[in-house]
């Protein structure tokens, strides 16, 4: 018999309690893994979204691109700055989209010009892109098209203007979850829909670089862009950030990360208390047996290893169960139209490892006190325990 076999036998002697403990812990751990996975995927998607350019510019002091707002004139001035190779301005905001049933959904609208960098990552699945002068046309992300059950040639109402419906001219796929659940309209249309005539929510810059890796050139442009002022509204300040810094500064992502970690901390606390309760009960029930083990020569450390081993095995089972619950839960969540443009169902291996690590920590912390108590039992008293 291996020591680990002995530990397993201890767990299987009370199968109902073991299963319930694992199940309870798995649900807790599953919610934690699901939140960590969502946070990880959103973060990864956001990081991917800002690749392919050097600076992302938005209004200073705003939490995200969605509530940034400044004059288009600033974009034109940035375009003329020395060292700037290309500029792609855009509108990103939530807008109402009316279904044929009359129901209204709030969807992400991206207003782009034809040369926007975003088109470079897109793959048109059906139909075509819009031309430079086209208006009242829309490209639907594959996920949004599926949710709305729309195809090329259909019409839909954006922003509440029922007199001027938009024609779906293309369905696209994108590596970015946000874009798959979004609609891309011509820049001017987006300004109308969101009530931002003559204004943008942000723009991206590609810097002219003499070498592939020269941060000084990007830094020079960044300072010049941030120094730009709108004469009509001098209070508006711009912030230009590298893609990585931009993603880290997004308030929504910060909030999501904070929520994911908060859920993890709560899961950790609940898990530790649950494990502590289970293992304390288990040790109490086996006081006499532990006395025997001590009597036949087991040192306190082996008793500690036995109890902690049981706790860790429970944790590993809970981690496996939790990962399965999280995977099923995320798949289920993506079936809900309200969120499936924002949540990717897969769980990255690093999240699984992190979840397992936290769960093992739950086992070790929750089992520590019962293990200590078990190791301190005096054999003679423990054997007499009834």
């Amino acid at each position: 018999m291996y020591f680990v076999s002995f530990i397993l036998k201890n767990l299987t002697r009370r199968p109902v309690r073991t299963v319930l403990t694992v199940l309870g812990l798995a649900v807790t751990v599953g919610s934690m893994i699901a939140f960590l996975a969502i946070s990880h995927n959103v973060n990864a998607s956001a990081e991917q979204a800002v690749q392919g350019f050097d600076l992302q510019v938005m209004q200073s002091g705003k939490s995200s691109g969605l509530n940034s707002d400044f004059s288009e004139a600033l974009v034109e001035r940035a375009r003329k700055l020395p060292g700037v190779a290309q500029v792609a301005e855009g509108i990103a905001d939530m807008a109402d989209m009316r279904r044929s049933s009359g129901a209204v959904d709030s969807v992400l609208i991206l207003g782009w010009k034809v040369d926007n960098f975003g088109f470079e990552n897109m793959k048109i699945l059906d139909g075509r892109k819009f031309g430079p002068d086209e208006r009242h046309v829309v490209l639907l992300g594959s996920m949004l098209a599926q949710n709305l059950n729309r195809k090329v040639g259909d019409q839909l109402v954006l922003g509440g203007d029922t007199d001027h419906p938009y024609e779906v001219i293309g369905i696209y796929d994108s590596p970015l979850i946000f874009e798959r659940g979004a609609a891309v309209v011509p820049f001017k249309d987006a300004q109308e829909i969101t009530g931002r005539k003559g204004r943008v929510t942000g723009f991206s810059i590609r810097v002219q670089k003499t070498s592939a890796d020269n941060p000084d050139e990007v830094e020079t442009v960044r300072k010049e862009v941030e120094a730009l002022r709108d004469p009509e509204d001098p209070t508006v300040r711009l912030t230009a950030q590298s893609p990585d810094t931009f993603v880290k500064s997004l308030q929504q992502l910060k909030l999501l990360r904070a929520v994911a970690w908060l859920v993890s901390v709560i899961a950790l606390a609940i898990g530790i208390i649950s494990m502590l309760n289970t293992m304390a009960m288990s040790v109490l029930e086996r006081t006499q047996e532990i006395g025997i083990l001590r009597a036949v020569g087991w040192p306190p450390m082996r008793v500690i290893l036995m109890v902690l081993g049981e706790a860790v095995l429970l944790s590993l089972a809970a981690a496996a169960g939790g990962t399965a619950i999280a995977a099923v839960g995320l798949q289920g969540l993506t079936l809900a139209p309200k969120v499936n443009g924002f949540i990717e169902p897969h769980i990255h291996w690093s999240v699984v490892l992190l979840g397992m690590g936290i769960t093992v920590m739950i086992g070790l912390l929750g089992g520590a006190y019962p293990a200590y108590r078990a190791s301190r039992l005096l054999p003679t008293e423990a054997i007499r325990h009834d």
Partner: protein
């Protein structure tokens, strides 16, 4: 009289042991001295509460005396820091209530002390357990859990467990106390046979006259003291300072 200057030469020498439990001022053992030779079978008898089991626990390093010393092959146990290791390697315990682990089979129960014995692979442990179970006539019941064994069989498995690490001393606390006369005889036969074939020192606490009759020596206790020892010149000499 006790030769206090020469604790060596015996397997076990208990020198004026005192033990008082914290929940009372009764001396569970009160100045007990005892000598046990290699391969000797000693029975400790006496009325309930006279301190027999407490003495057994102290001699088996399960408990520490308040005063006095236990020498094992001349070495004072109070100076050893590894009493767990000492118990695992030198002492085998047999209890009245068997105390087998219910989740384990007979074969697995016998292996429990081996985790602290001589280092050996799992397969070797199982082999050794099988050999010990054969020795006690339980090889056909090796895969059974305790709840599927009769009380006599359980005690035989407990005996095999006690022999797991080839101890020098077997301590048995009322080993036949929970057995009917037939099973008691079988276990007793087994105990005495093993004691002889393995040259084990055997110290048995018992109320049973039959158990005591088979012993080389009978030590009788009363009120925490040794009042008679049939085969020894050792007589208790309580420390006046300790007894007040």
């Amino acid at each position: 009289m006790i030769d206090e200057t020469d604790p060596n030469g015996d397997l076990l020498f208990a020198d004026r042991l005192y033990k008082t439990y914290p929940d009372g001022d009764v001396h569970a053992i009160n100045g007990v001295s005892l000598r046990l030779r290699e391969g000797e079978y000693v029975a400790i008898t006496g009325p309930s509460g006279c301190g027999k089991s407490t003495l057994l626990n102290v001699l088996g390093a399960l408990d520490r005396p308040d005063k006095g010393e236990v020498y094992f092959r001349g070495e004072a146990l109070s100076r050893r820091r590894d009493l767990d290791h000492f118990r695992a390697r030198q002492i085998g315990f047999v209890f009245q209530s068997f105390f087998l682990l219910p989740a384990l089979t007979a074969r697995e129960n016998v292996q429990i002390p081996m985790f602290e014995g001589e280092s050996m692979p799992a397969r070797e442990r199982a082999k050794k357990a099988d050999a010990l179970l054969e020795l006690v006539g339980m090889s056909k019941r090796a895969d059974h859990r305790p709840n599927k064994l009769s009380v006599g069989e359980r005690q035989r498995v407990a005996l095999a467990r006690a022999l797991a690490n080839n101890p020098s001393l077997l301590l048995a606390d009322e080993p036949t106390g929970n057995l009917d006369s037939e099973n008691a005889d079988k276990v007793l036969d087994l105990l005495t046979s093993l004691q002889k074939t393995h040259r084990l020192a055997l110290l048995v606490v018992t109320h049973s006259d039959e158990v005591a009759e088979r012993a080389d020596r009978v030590v009788r206790m009363k009120d925490g003291k040794v009042v008679a020892d049939s085969g020894s010149d050792l007589l208790p000499t309580p420390d006046p300072a300790a007894t007040g």
